[in-house]
């Protein structure tokens, strides 16, 4: 199965049947099985879009981001970025690539060196990736600092001296100095208060326009994703179960998991979610998945067929993809 782009825009990243399995070992360090953190994921990201990757903790969304970035080596599959294969590159090759493909960690506070001043942290990527002189580097840092709305005096501060929202801005500034084309944002707003979150999200949109960026927006916060993303991919236990334009998916979700996930978001002014929430139980242990569809143990619509057949992501209409063998019958 190949997920092709559907409109005329350029594809910046294309991944095909990508898998990352982590070995499970017993007390004697003998391998006893595999944890399929991502399992046969195919995706195409168009230039200039914001693709949301959503799902609950443990569904593999962060592993997906890290595997694309090259932090994890994929077990199988291919990753094609700006026309070149990037899966399984050696460190020096992938270093070149990282200029164009960047990743922000969940918690920028802990990814900044606590003993380095902000200025030095911002300078470091330029030192590694470019041949600019000290003055030119400083000029570039100042430019970016201005773009993320941080005062210049912050260069002289340590990470613990600034607030969480400001740390995020520094994290962003740090990758933007290299002028990347694709940025993977891993839970960029977790742990922020709503009033700060709003300003940070606005900043993402401003920067996207200014630097002509493409985002992969990994988040568990569905209301943020709804507002920010053009398309979303919903993941459950290592697989994409639904993919499509954000509004369409939110309005008429096709996969029963997406339906339950969306119905769990509290909506102020609407009905109370807690009054008619139907999803029972919790996700199964990812190292011992059920046969067939991995959602079937919690799915109210399951049939015998679900246990036998491993559903794949299938194009239903236009841009809509889902991986439920009953999708057509039950929800169209």
């Amino acid at each position: 199965m190949k997920v092709k782009k559907t409109d005329g825009s350029d594809t910046i990243l294309e991944i095909n049947e990508l898998s990352k399995w982590f070995p499970i070992t017993n007390a004697w360090n003998r391998k006893t099985g595999d944890l399929k953190a991502i399992d046969g994921v195919s995706l195409a990201v168009n230039k200039g879009e914001i693709l949301g990757v959503v799902g609950e903790s443990g569904c593999g969304k962060s592993t997906l981001g890290k595997t694309i970035m090259g932090i994890h080596k994929p077990s199988s599959g291919s990753i094609n970025f700006e026309g070149g294969e990037v899966a399984g590159l050696n460190p020096s090759q992938s270093r070149k690539l990282r200029k164009r493909l960047q990743y922000t960690y969940q918690d920028p506070g802990s990814s900044l060196d606590p003993r380095w001043k902000i200025g030095r942290s911002l300078d470091e990527p330029l030192k590694i990736h470019t041949d600019l002189s000290k003055e030119e580097r400083f000029e570039r840092v100042r430019e970016i600092l201005d773009a993320v709305n941080l005062p210049e005096m912050h260069l002289e501060l340590y990470p613990h001296e600034i607030s969480g929202g400001q740390q995020r801005r520094v994290g962003l500034a740090r990758i933007l100095t290299l002028h990347p084309s694709l940025v993977i944002l891993d839970e960029p707003t977790s742990g922020l208060d709503v009033s700060v979150q709003a300003t940070i999200l606005k900043l993402f949109l401003d920067l996207k326009k200014k630097f002509d960026l493409t985002y992969i927006f990994i988040s568990h916060d569905l209301s943020v994703v709804r507002m920010m993303c053009d398309r979303i991919a919903v993941m459950y236990l290592g697989k994409i179960v639904e993919l499509g334009p954000t509004e369409a998916v939110f309005k008429s979700p096709r996969h029963p998991y997406t339906q339950s996930l969306l119905s769990a978001i509290p909506e102020i002014g609407g009905g109370r979610v807690t009054e008619n929430f139907w999803l029972e139980g919790e996700p199964p242990d990812p190292s011992r998945l059920p046969s067939g569809c991995s959602f079937r143990t919690r799915c109210p619509f399951q049939t015998q067929q679900c246990a036998l057949e491993q559903p794949t992501l299938v194009n239903r209409a236009g841009d809509r993809w889902d991986a439920c063998i009953q999708s057509r019958k039950t929800f169209s």
Partner: protein, 336 residues
């Protein structure tokens, strides 16, 4: 207002830190009726956890100081009571606590069963130290065990007996939180303080836990103070919502009024910063103030678009736009 189960009045709490004294609570009022679920919302550092901890009497002794105010629970002022009386009769008995992170609240080296049974022993056993009491003790233990199982069933845990034999790391976050709810209900309390109980959980699990908490509180007529920074979660289960800002309460109203007709500019902008379908992204300019040398008057005034002379000099008095709606602002009519 009728007879409140708990009423906190004019509570002032300060912490001494290396840099000076931080006034974390500045004259906070809160009252809660029997069977009511009150949401305490606000951003980090607004003092909601400190308020919850003051009610429980578990503020750090060497740095925190309650300088003024009263906490009246069931006609007794908890601040006047002896510490050991609070520990014996109130905390863990009539007022129980559900923590934010259920994992760090369990002891990792004992099974869950052992920890729940411990609680039962501590709270229920009469002292019996004679040899002849052995049989009685055994009967008592079985009795306790039955009660624990019953309770685990009411919080909808699959296979309660199996779970009692497990260690805390062997159960999932959602299940741990269910166990915590069960433990909070065990002593048949009148008030449960739930401190961000769903923050660490996924959204589908959050919906399950909120549903459970609401149902149990209703069934057992228990009051709940539910602190959260998630306005959506507060909307789901609360009867009344109080919003705090930098150690002062800003507004308090029934849940419908609160979300439909907010009066305080802070509430208004907080609701405005929520991601919405219409795509408004409004954030609040400026930052939450440091609580050492906080802004004078209304602590929100440096970030408020309506701030006037009065706001800077004096703290606004309580305004009652309607019976179940309290707001502390000089401009409460502005949003009519």
């Amino acid at each position: 207002m009728g007879d409140a189960l708990l009423s906190v009045e004019n509570l002032h709490v300060s912490f001494s830190t290396e840099n000076g004294v931080a006034e974390v609570l500045d004259g906070v009022n809160l009252s809660i009726q029997t069977g009511e679920i009150v949401g305490l919302v606000g951003e980090s550092g607004c003092g909601k956890t400190t308020l919850a901890r003051s009610i429980l009497g578990i503020l750090p002794k060497n740095s925190a100081k309650i300088s003024d105010g009263s906490i009246v629970f069931d006609h007794q002022n908890l601040l006047d009571m002896q510490e050991q009386d609070v520990a014996r009769d109130i905390r863990g008995r009539l007022i129980t606590f559900i923590p934010q992170d259920p994992f760090s609240s369990f002891n990792p080296v004992f099974t869950i069963g052992a920890q729940i049974m411990d609680l039962m022993k501590w709270k229920y056993s009469k002292q019996q130290s004679s040899w002849f009491a052995l049989r009685a003790r055994k009967a008592e233990r079985e009795n306790h065990f039955r009660r624990v199982l019953e309770l685990l069933q009411t919080v909808q845990l699959p296979d309660p007996e199996g779970i009692l034999r497990k260690y805390p790391h062997e159960v999932s976050g959602g299940q741990r939180q269910r166990i915590m709810i069960a433990m909070a209900l065990l002593p048949e309390p009148r008030l449960i303080i739930a401190d961000e109980p769903t923050t660490a959980l996924d959204v589908t699990i959050q919906a399950q836990i909120l549903k459970l908490l609401k149902r149990l509180a209703r069934e057992r007529n228990v009051s709940v103070i539910f602190t959260t920074h998630d306005l959506g979660a507060a909307y789901e289960i609360c009867d009344r919502v109080t919003v705090m800002y930098a150690g002062q309460e800003a507004e308090s109203a029934s849940v419908d009024k609160f979300f439909e007709k907010p009066r305080h500019p802070y509430t208004k902008s907080l609701l405005g910063s929520l991601p919405s379908k219409s795509g408004g992204l409004k954030g609040i300019p400026g930052q939450i103030p440091a609580l050492i040398n906080p802004p004078s008057g209304c602590r929100f005034h440096p970030r408020c678009s309506l701030a006037s002379e009065d706001c800077i000099t004096r703290r606004p008095q309580v305004n009652w736009p309607s019976d179940d709606h309290m707001v502390r602002c000089y401009h409460p009519k502005i949003y009519d």
